[in-house]
């Protein structure tokens, strides 16, 4: 069908959503069974995951094709902007829940555990952060801020800069430097992840700091872990964008696919700053 500009594009009926639902059905049952040590779970989980990947490729591929064939007018573009913006807000709130847990433990529940009421139960407990709690006897060393974490901060901040440089290159129509800066961003992201994995190894092997190390271990690993997961997603998204750039997608005027991912990358950046301050430094 020919497109008149000014028309809002409403996609044709699509099979991708139901494929996605099927994937989640498998994954949910698979994960539930796996966590309860039932053999069947692993298989279901793997099948679900495979279907999910297939769906993501198919669905996003469709959107990219629609975009490249000029189906999206300015109004659709605005919709994508609103949509991505509010999606990032939901991500912020997800992290807020975990930060909230951290603050609550440090400000409220930890002092309460050390107060007079509890001294009968746990006479030797000293309520000081970091803690593994009054009932955990294994000792651990907390993660310092000025080693790897500081380097990681630098890496991520730099990657924010390279990401913006890539954007400028795209706007200026300099495709080669666009690709170069994108690659640099991805490289910094992956390096960050590598160091993060190394840091986890160090925590488990040398510091005896584990996910099971009470309040500190829980918040440390869950916050940094979810952040790392988001960096992974961001890096994958950047890679997709890289290949789209290499395939000649996007124009200096219209490139929301790129911008959306860039927003996401900056969001991941900001979350890290919060982590660095509240998890590592304070």
């Amino acid at each position: 069908m020919s497109q008149e500009s000014g028309h809002y594009y409403v996609p044709a009926p699509s099979g991708w959503p139901i494929v996605g639902s099927t994937a989640l059905l498998f994954m949910a049952f698979g994960a539930a069974l796996t966590m309860n040590k039932m053999e069947l779970g692993y298989g279901l989980l793997a099948v679900g995951f495979a279907i999910l990947i297939y769906m993501l490729f198919g669905w996003f591929g469709t959107v990219a094709r629609e975009s490249e064939s000029g189906k999206f007018n300015a109004a659709v573009d605005r919709s994508f902007r609103w949509g991505m913006g509010w999606f990032i807000l939901t991500e912020v709130m997800f992290f807020a829940a975990f930060f909230g847990a951290l603050f609550y433990m440090r400000v409220f529940s930890l002092p309460w555990l050390g107060d007079a009421d509890h001294s009968l139960l746990w006479p030797d407990f000293v309520a000081e952060w970091p803690t593994a709690g009054p009932g955990t006897h294994e000792q651990f060393t907390p993660m310092g801020a000025w080693g790897l974490p500081a380097i990681n901060t630098l890496l991520l901040l730099t990657s924010g800069v390279t990401c913006t440089l890539a954007h400028w290159a795209l706007q200026a129509g300099k495709r080669e430097s666009l690709k170069m800066w994108l690659l640099a961003t991805i490289f910094l992201g992956v390096l960050f992840l590598g160091l993060q994995i190394y840091e986890y190894g160090h925590a488990y092997a040398d510091l005896n700091l584990k996910l099971t190390s009470g309040a500190y271990g829980s918040t440390f690993f869950m916050l940094t872990g979810f952040h790392g997961f988001h960096v992974t997603l961001g890096a994958i998204m950047l890679t997709v964008i890289y290949f789209r750039c290499a395939a000649g997608h996007f124009t200096p005027e219209k490139h929301f696919g790129f911008e959306g991912v860039a927003w996401y990358w900056h969001f991941v950046d900001v979350v890290w700053l919060g982590l660095f301050i509240f998890v590592y430094l304070m």
Binding site: P11, A12, P13, P17, S79, F87, E91, F95, A101
Partner: protein
């Protein structure tokens, strides 16, 4: 803005979409998706209702009758979860899907394909919840609020519930982002924000609440999951965590959630009352501001659910006053509805009856809410049937009655046929009477100290419980009658005119034929 429907490989302008089951599975049409939401919601209403009948049957007499305590707990838990996430919320999203594009003159939802996914995630979550009854250890049994340590202890069923909540959350988030974007970006020329029908306004604000709090719910169930299986200590005091932390995070989601379930009903009521009073809504802009202030305040009152869980006195005071403050904008709304009816030329068709019933009974629920908000009183009534009475007054005679009002109001536009007015009136009066028989006496039970979520009770509670159960059975049967009325309307109702309601003024009545065509407003109307 004008729209273009992508019909895949087809040519021309007639509708080419898959037929049969594939139409429903692959559809990107907001009306189809709205219809699926509404039917799904009704199906879940029946499942949740069946569980409620089981609960009331067990409580018909003292002693253990038909449900072992373990199973009883599963029934109360799943009743709450299914009604909240499966029945009430999807019903409102169904309304939003049908009505928002038509009321603002948009061709469809902003993200039509994602819209389909938002819906099709629901059956997945429902499957997880329902199947969990049949797995070893049974369904989750720690209440719909799944507090630890009970919820850290259960078996496979709890994990299935956790994943169901994740999926429901994803569905709600996508749905609400879609609604926000549609409203902000796709209004017809001339449809300024302050000209939008109030139903659209309430949904816009509801959607904001959803994007704010659903991720927090996802976070808290994730913590629960890792506490259960991966040795974290978020809710474990021995590890330096705190079970009360769960309650804080849960209710940070939970209280806005109850407003998520009532704001769209305010919207429906604000459409119906003016239509049948043949007068414009009194105080439109104050309604908008009241809705927004309710939503904002609702984010700062969560700990009124935890007055007995242990909290500093300053905290109790803060949350008490903040909660009571919400009664002010709520009062503004009730005042405006009443003032709209004042000197209107009113008629009392079924939607109007349900709306007036809503005002009366919701106000009772609002007042019992304020009573619960008073700390010294709440310490007495927390976890008793008084709280059950409170929230059924706001949720059943509030949210559900508004849903009924909306269904009767818009059925002609959706189906092209009128429902049977006599039967509709019967549905209203039977619901009204049985509802009050069921839940009014629960106030007395609660004040006398009967605890909630317990399958047995002391002898002095026997009479009121029997009355309540009888009312509940009646209410349950009445809703099957509602199903009959709707099917009867679709099958053999009289043909409806474009605007069967004299006083209706919104676009779907004034600018679209009845039944609403499959694609509406591909060229936008101009709103003056």
């Amino acid at each position: 803005m004008a729209a273009v429907q992508d019909h895949g490989h087809s040519h021309g302008h007639d509708d080419h979409h898959p037929t049969g089951i594939m139409r429903w599975i692959t559809t990107t049409n907001h009306k189809d998706i709205g219809t699926m939401y509404l039917w799904f919601s009704f199906a879940m209403f029946l499942v949740g209702g069946t569980l409620a009948m089981g609960i009331r049957a067990e409580l018909y007499q003292p002693g253990i009758q038909i449900l072992e305590p373990e199973l009883f707990n599963q029934f109360t838990t799943l009743h709450g979860l299914i009604m909240v996430f499966g029945a009430i919320m999807p019903a409102f999203v169904g309304f939003a899907n049908w009505q928002v594009p038509m009321m603002i003159g948009a061709p469809d939802m902003a993200f039509a394909r994602m819209n389909n996914w938002s819906f099709w995630l629901l059956p997945v979550a429902a499957t997880l919840l329902v199947v969990s009854f049949f797995v070893p250890g049974g369904a989750a049994a720690g209440g719909w609020t799944f507090y630890p340590p009970l919820s850290t202890q259960g078996g496979l069923g709890v994990d299935m519930m956790i994943f169901a909540v994740h999926i429901l959350g994803a569905s709600s988030i996508m749905g609400s982002i879609n609604i926000i974007t549609t409203i902000l970006n796709m209004r017809a020329p001339g449809m300024t924000m302050m000209k939008m029908p109030l139903f659209v306004w309430t949904w816009l604000i509801t959607a904001y609440l959803l994007v704010l709090v659903m991720p927090v719910l996802a976070g808290v169930v994730t913590m629960l999951l890792t506490d259960r299986h991966f040795g974290t200590s978020f809710f474990n005091a021995a590890g330096g965590g705190d079970p009360v932390l769960f309650q804080h995070i849960f209710w940070f989601f939970g209280h806005p959630e109850v407003y998520i379930m009532i704001l769209p009903s305010f919207g429906i009521i604000s459409e119906v009352i003016p239509a049948f009073s043949r007068k414009p809504l009194f105080g439109y802009s104050s309604m908008v501001y009241a809705t927004a202030s309710i939503a904002i305040l609702s984010c700062f009152v969560w700990a009124h659910h935890m007055f007995t869980a242990g909290m500093p006195v300053t905290g109790q005071l803060f949350f008490m006053y903040a909660t009571m403050l919400i009664a002010v904008p709520t009062g503004v709304k009730v005042f405006n509805w009443t003032a709209t009816m004042w000197r209107g030329s009113m008629t009392f068709e079924t939607p109007m009856l349900f709306s007036i019933g809503f005002i009366f009974l919701f106000v009772i629920g609002g007042f019992s809410g304020v009573i619960c908000a008073i700390v010294p009183i709440d310490i007495q009534v927390q976890d008793t049937y008084y709280v059950i009475a409170h929230f059924h007054y706001v949720l059943v005679s509030g949210s559900l009655f508004a849903i009924f009002a909306g269904i009767y109001y818009w059925l002609p536009k959706w189906t092209g046929r009128m429902y049977n007015e006599t039967l509709g009136k019967w549905h209203f009066w039977l619901s009204m009477v049985f509802f009050n028989i069921t839940f009014f006496v629960q106030h007395f039970l609660g004040l006398a100290g009967m605890p909630r979520r317990i399958p047995d009770y002391a002898l002095q509670f026997a009479d009121f419980n029997m009355i309540s159960s009888l009312g509940a059975f009646g209410f349950g049967l009445t809703q099957l009658f509602f199903l009959y009325i709707v099917i009867n309307c679709i099958r053999s109702g009289e043909k409806a005119p474009q605007k069967p309601w004299e006083g209706a003024t919104t676009l779907e009545w004034t600018a679209l034929p009845t039944p609403a065509p499959y694609h509406s407003f591909e060229t936008p109307p101009v709103v003056k």
